[in-house]
Amino acid sequence: MRYAFLVAWREYSESAKTRGFWIGLFMVPAMILISIQVQLWLAKSGTPTRHFFLVDQSQRLEPAIDSALDKNRQRQLLAALVDYTRKNLLHQDALSTLVSSAPLAQLDPGSVELLETFIGKGGRDFFLKQVKPYLRPDAPPFVEPRPAFERVKLPPEIKTDKSIGELAADLKPYLRGDRRLEAGNNLVEIDAAILIPKDVENLIVRPGGGGPVFGTNGIQYWSANLTDAGTGLRDEVEKAVSGEIRQREFLRRGLDSAAVRDVERSFVPILSLNPKKEAGQEAVNTTDIVKQYAPIGFVYLLWISIFSIMQMLLNNIIEEKSSRIIEVLLSSVTPGELMIGKLCGIAAIGLTMVGAWIVTTFVILGWQSGNSSELAGQVLAILKTTRLVPVFSVYFILGYLLYAGLILSLGSVCNTLKEAQSYMAVLNMVMMVPLLTMMFIPRHPNGPLARVLSWIPIYTPFTMMNRANADPPMVDVVGTMILLVICTAGTLWMAGKIFRIGILRSGQPPKIVEMLRWLKG
């Protein structure tokens, strides 16, 4: 065993000296840190302000749109203020005192009441005055987020009394970015133009017919930026215009619009509950959602680590084989000792790498969650409360041994890396499956795809890792584990036989039939 240890130690210390090892060691933590930072940065810098033109030839919808956008702005401000308050609270208890104090009701930016109180009482200054006593004395001053949308006055040379078509033609240079416009102190690009025709009343589409054929005529929204179409300004405008039109419809039909609005705001909340959670805590929250998807990270980690150490192992065997060092080794150690030494040495490299990844992930998440990343906090909590890390360790070791067995057999019968690569291509393709399915499995963690893949030993580690947080049935957990262990042991036994003979062979790789004969021998 001493000799196997010596072999393992050499493998470990030599690999640890390579540049690839250190790059690998720092790659994952760096990726996590960067992705968190990018997220934070995006949240902080927000989407840039969209500048737009609004021309309302009908002169009936403009105020509604303006006020809707203003309300949107107030909502954005409120959300930022609530966030600011939560982050700068004197202490956690201050929150409950603050929340119980009358005007702010709940500190929920989604609450309609809070928004109305907020706008009604004077917005930002009112809010800041209210929360001031509950904030830390050293709290930084509140910084207003940039407005999402900003209406820009038309340049003086544009005449608004032309037909919509001509108007659009006049505005195109601005919309295409060929011309810029001064707004405030900056030259800005115009992102969109909303053109409302004079006869907008005739364009209303009503149930039961009437109005133009849908999609042929209406308010025109011009923008070169298509990605904006679904999320931003267009939706706001559409909501505002429809609201205004409906308001008028209510009036026309003699309905009480205030009553209708109240009716529209009535709802019964639906609670998501999970029967598998403890009684009294069945409510599903965002942490549960994150929890269901958290294993994906581990599947990826598992895949990356197994994949990269497979390459290492293959290179290593081929080096010894092609340079014939193997012969000297085999005059000093038995093939069994050599194989065990190799397996352990390379496994130790993999474990060091993965261990470093996990530790640094904890450190980074801990640091970032203290540093305002909510997701980091949630992930950290999940890692601490679930069995993901131990489950990962078990599947890493078994998965590694299984794949290592295959690589040892492959490496020992090939003479050059080039020769081995053509066989590796097949293995790589087989290994792509868990990567392709890892995003789907959490949606149906106990569905047929997940279950079938779990019972295929080469996929068991990845798939079961993928399902780890979804309480897979016991028969799957135990059954696949037994199958995996048997299969791994079998592969290693086979590798031992093939390794012993293959490693000294030169010339063409053997045929399958010949290898089967080795297994019998």
Binding site: Y3, L6, R324, E327, V328, T334
Partner: protein, 317 residues
């Protein structure tokens, strides 16, 4: 490392060893034994079965039939610490430092890590590679790399060293170094078995040779005995007519040797004839000799005689 004297007779003994690779008989019923302290040349053309025999000795592969005893044990692995091995095809870990490779192989032979490291530096210094001790081996020349590998195979000071083609790829200076290493070992009563194609080395170093061809042992004995198998030869240099010599009953055959300058002739003479007699006959016949040599057959001649036909048709395995 073991300095204890070996009292149990042969260092290596092959008894009716046969090895098949599939249908191919690589080694065919070979038997021999090596006494302690001897230097034995293992000769034979390509594909004769030398490397297979060596691998079986080290138990890297097992014989199909027959027994091999190494240092009195049936398994080389039991005594692996007392054996050193330099394989035919040489290679080193490219990124490892020279000293680290020597030390690694020495630890695999049972030395402690500390002792192995010290020994590695010592050997590198002794054989002129001090400045390269801390260099990765891919920064070394081929010859230096090979030297490192030789040192790695003897770092643990083995009792029995097996060197497969130790001279191939070395320049004359390093060939001399290799010879010195072997002589140094034999002077300390180590047993050396080495295979080679270059007969001069065997001739200078060995007291005994084993020749195999096509898997079969065809000669086993002292070099002098091997040479005695060839007819004795006399070489003369003269401008005169030598045809009268051809008629003599003492002369088996005579052939002109291609050489620049004065014509040279080689005469094979009968075993019972004194070479001095030939000289006297030349005087009698008024053949004026420019030179007269009692040419002892070289090992090369012996080798060609023994395996010449085999070597020509030797096939690649």
């Amino acid at each position: 490392m073991s300095d204890r004297p070996n009292n149990d007779g042969a260092v290596l003994e092959f008894r009716n060893v046969t090895k098949y690779y599939g249908e191919f008989k690589a080694v065919d019923d070979v038997s021999f034994s090596l006494t302690p302290g001897s230097v034995c040349g293992f000769l034979g053309p390509n594909g004769a079965g030398k490397t297979t025999s060596i691998r079986m000795t080290l138990e890297i592969i097992r014989p199909t039939s027959g027994t091999i005893t190494v240092l009195g044990r049936p398994s080389a692995l039991e005594v692996r610490r007392r054996i050193g091995y330099l394989p035919e095809e040489k290679g080193l870990y490219k990124k490892m430092k020279a000293w680290a490779i020597i030390a690694y192989f020495a630890t695999l032979k049972g030395m402690t890590r500390k002792a192995a490291k010290q020994r590695a530096y010592e050997l590198l210094e002794r054989y002129g590679l001090k400045d390269f001790s801390d260099k990765p081996t891919d920064a070394l020349s081929k010859g230096m790399g090979q030297k490192v590998q030789v040192l790695a195979s003897i770092a643990h000071d083995p009792e029995f060293v097996i060197l497969d083609e130790p001279f191939s790829g070395l320049d004359p200076v390093n060939q001399q170094v290799m010879e010195d290493i072997i002589r140094d070992m034999t002077s300390r009563n180590r047993t050396v078995l080495f295979s080679t194609h270059v007969m001069q080395h065997a001739e200078r170093l060995c007291n005994r040779i084993i020749v195999i061809a096509r898997g079969r042992k065809i000669f086993d004995g002292l070099i002098a005995d091997a040479k005695r198998m060839l007819p004795r030869r006399v070489r003369i240099e003269t401008n005169d007519d030598v045809s009268p010599l051809r008629q003599l009953s003492e002369v088996v055959s005579m052939a002109r040797i291609e050489s620049p300058g004065m014509p040279q002739w080689e005469l094979q003479i009968r075993d019972n004839v004194d070479a001095q007699g030939i000289l006297e006959i030349c005087f009698d016949r008024r053949i004026r000799l420019h030179s007269f040599n009692q040419a002892e057959p070289s090992l090369h001649d012996v080798f060609m005689q023994l395996v010449g036909s085999d070597a020509k048709e030797a096939r690649f395995r």
